[in-house]
Amino acid sequence: MIAELFAQATEALQFSFIQRALLAGSLIAVSCALLGVFLVLRRFSMIGDGLGHVSFGAIGLSLMLGLHPVYASIPVVLLGSLWIMRLAGRSGVQGDAAIGLTSAMGVATGMMLAGIGGGFNVDLFSYLFGNILVISATEVWLSLVLTVVVLLAVVLFYHDLFVIAFEEESAQVLGVAAERVNTLLVLCTALTVVLSIRIVGILLVSSLIIMPGVAALRVASGFRSTLLLAVVFSLFSVWIGILVSYLLDLPTGATIVFVNFFFFLGALLVGRLGERG
């Protein structure tokens, strides 16, 4: 049985669509995990969900106008992320409410366009659940560029991100340009969300951002180790999720989320045992 599964897995790795999915998935996993730790600590993790819903509206608009759904969505979702930040910042709307409001408008826009335009409903709704079979080589390259940008941002702004995550007010007094760093963080998140949609779908995109970070926070003792562990959980979730979904003919996005959830349960258990010990 195990030998047979191993043989099937080896065979799966020969397919170019699986290779592309693993490659793009790995790159996105790294970005999601790194950004997720900062977003979770700032109580802003649901922004992934909100931006996922904005992308639903954006994809609807792209399909209606005959544009490429992923590429054309990028500027709209970037604007959506800045809008959420503005609402939650200077406009004084609570962060979760700002995300909820934008999220609802994203879904409503998508549904409205689907209703008006017709004909592309099936295409639009396919984005809700993701489809790794259709990841193109261009999307792999885009994921690579995004991951390099996120890695550079985390390395170059590590200390700034650290103090902002801990306490934004003190960060400003320490001379950190909190608004600029926050803008960089949400723009990277917006790009990550759009590129993650092919892998897990709009409905589950926030899980890639939230789960690895939350799991790592249960067991890591320092800030660097939390980031590192979140990346490890995220990578293994994507690798195991893609292969298991192929072998057992399961939906890929949901499988990745389940693996992430098992990592979280394991981390919860280890964390509790650590507290008792």
Binding site: H159, E167, S170, L217, S221
Partner: protein
Amino acid sequence: MPMNLVEVSGLSVRQGGTEILKGLEFVVAPGDFLALVGPNGSGKSTLLKCLLGLIPFSAGEVRLFGQSPQDFTAHSRLGYLPQVAGGNAQGFPATVREIVASGRLPLKRFPKKLDADDWAAVESILARLDIGHLAGRKIDRLSGGQRQRVFLARAMVAEAELLFLDEPTSALDPGTRRSFYEMLRDINREQGRSIVMVTHDSGSIGDYATTLLYIDHTQIFFGSFSEFCHSPAMTAYFGSHAQHLMCRQHGGACQ
């Protein structure tokens, strides 16, 4: 004559249509230990945040080291201990050492990197505040009093000339509070650093602070403690009996 570290004239702050502060006029000179006192909700923390450029003011002028708070660049000259320090401390994956080290960031340029000198400064300040044994401990494993010392260490680790402390003793027991004030007095008198401290602890502060600013949305009093006890404005505000009680609490500073 040395330049005042803080100069405030005609300062008013308005939030949501309500005037929180009106017509404040005071200075903080090098070596001053200013106690910022007033009842709950009188605008003390708002004033501190306004001085730090965290919230805007509606009228007047504020100069911090000669600069406007909005264009302030000399962050390494300031240390700040907020009223509720470490808002995200619960579950935050950082050690005391990492938190205190972040206080060295104003000394750094992009891309900010901490070096051996920074870590040595961290160990030194932790030892001086008697919390060296907590260096490797996660911040959310500390008591309120221990955390307050950690955040004070963060405020002091860059050797700032001016410390803004917002109710730093609120989580301390009476014994620890006394030694904390003594430590602040050393910082102020031995090291010559200036301190602006929001406090409700009127019973002790007269022994340590050099000047007092009493506000209740408007400025009731600004001056030395001896002036405070005989201030007609304070008598009118408090009533003579209440003022007498408060002055007596100041351990003879008014005599």
